[in-house]
């Protein structure tokens, strides 16, 4: 009894195939959700994949926000449906105000495409409860606009309420990455934030790519725990049972 998970597809999406593959490995039945349709096809969860939706024109993610499919995704999220945004998908979710903050141009100005290390701040969420003990988690980043930003008051609030889901860490020591100039923080994100979760606990986003780190033969399967957590949470919710974890704080 596998659970249907939708992967949104915009003109310019390019990690959709990786997302479909990862969801399948995690035991889900993935389906493509075309951007011009408003129908979610009865999916139990939505993954907004990486890429350059609508060419990243104006600002990364903003034009996708107004597409028919994203209006439906916003309504789905509003009803507690689990939504995971990866890379460009994270940018789309912040532009849609489903997640706090914004992603700015990388502080070093360069597009960064390499392996990074991250660690979850919380293991009691719909996106991390199956992550296990392995630290740090190694997976790639590939983006030009991934510097997480919010003002200090909002960052304090995020920290206080458990809104920080992942941080960049030193791949050797596992310690929290520093600011701009520390290679462990690939884009100069504020407080080394790599991913966040909303207050209700059902929407999360991150810049690194767990969906391309799901097979050890390809270098890392450290991302699989995140994808599996998401899939199992969606399955638990759609089967009417109690959620796998209590996401609300």
């Amino acid at each position: 009894m596998s659970v249907r998970i939708g992967v949104t597809l915009f003109p310019g999406s390019n990690r959709d195939i990786d997302a479909l593959n990862a969801l399948e490995i995690a035991g889900a039945e993935p389906v493509v959700l075309w951007h011009e349709r408003a129908d979610l096809d009865g999916v139990a969860g939505v993954l907004v994949p990486g890429g350059f939706a609508y060419g990243d024109y104006l600002r990364a993610g903003v034009i996708a926000r107004f597409s028919p499919i994203m209006r439906s995704v916003a309504a789905f999220a509003g009803n507690g449906g689990p939504v995971l945004g990866i890379c460009n998908g994270f940018q789309v979710l912040t532009e849609a105000h489903l997640l706090p903050g914004a992603l700015l141009r990388n502080r070093g100005l360069r597009f960064v495409s390499r392996q990074v290390a991250i660690a979850p701040e919380r293991l009691d969420t719909a996106f991390t409860h199956l992550v296990g003990e392995r630290r740090p988690l190694r997976m790639p980043v590939a983006h030009g606009e991934g510097a997480y930003f919010a003002d200090d008051a909002e960052l304090d609030e995020l920290e206080r309420t458990g809104g920080v889901l992942f941080r960049y860490v030193d791949p050797d020591t596992g310690e929290r990455a520093g600011g701009e100039g520390d290679r462990a923080n690939p884009n100069g994100s504020a407080r080394a934030i790599a991913g966040v979760i909303n207050a209700a606990g059902n929407v999360a986003g991150l810049m690194p790519h767990p969906e391309t780190a799901v097979e050890a033969v390809l270098g890392s399967d450290d991302g699989l725990g995140i994808i599996r957590s998401f899939v199992e949470s969606a399955a638990a919710r759609s089967h009417g049972g109690a959620p796998a974890v209590v996401g609300a704080r």
Partner: protein, 98 residues
């Protein structure tokens, strides 16, 4: 609103990074000035200018449309500020079918 009543007004929306937001593009431009042999230039900020024509019943109605566009689409209020400039009657409709 009939076609005869409508006004066609041209606006510019100037979007720029908010004060205090690091602007890596501005910094890169500033960093290149030395190569041009220019000094004495600082605090470079790179923004974006969007020009558009609004067809509406009157200028007030047109401004409402531009305000909404600027706030919801053209800028991200978290990181950017904007101002709206009226450019007067439109010339962009010249040549379009009546």
């Amino acid at each position: 609103m009939t076609e005869a009543d409508a006004v066609h007004l041209r606006f510019a929306v100037n979007v720029r990074p908010k004060d205090g937001i690091l602007d890596p593009q501005g910094r890169a431009v500033e960093g290149s000035l030395g190569h041009l042999g220019i000094d004495g230039v600082s605090s470079v900020r790179v923004g974006r200018r969007v020009e558009l024509t609004v067809t509406a019943a009157d200028e007030d109605a047109a401004r409402v449309v531009v305000e909404r566009l600027a706030a919801e689409l053209l800028s991200n209020p978290l990181i950017e500020s904007y101002d709206i400039e009226a450019l007067g009657g439109s010339s962009s409709l010249v040549g379009e079918p009546a």
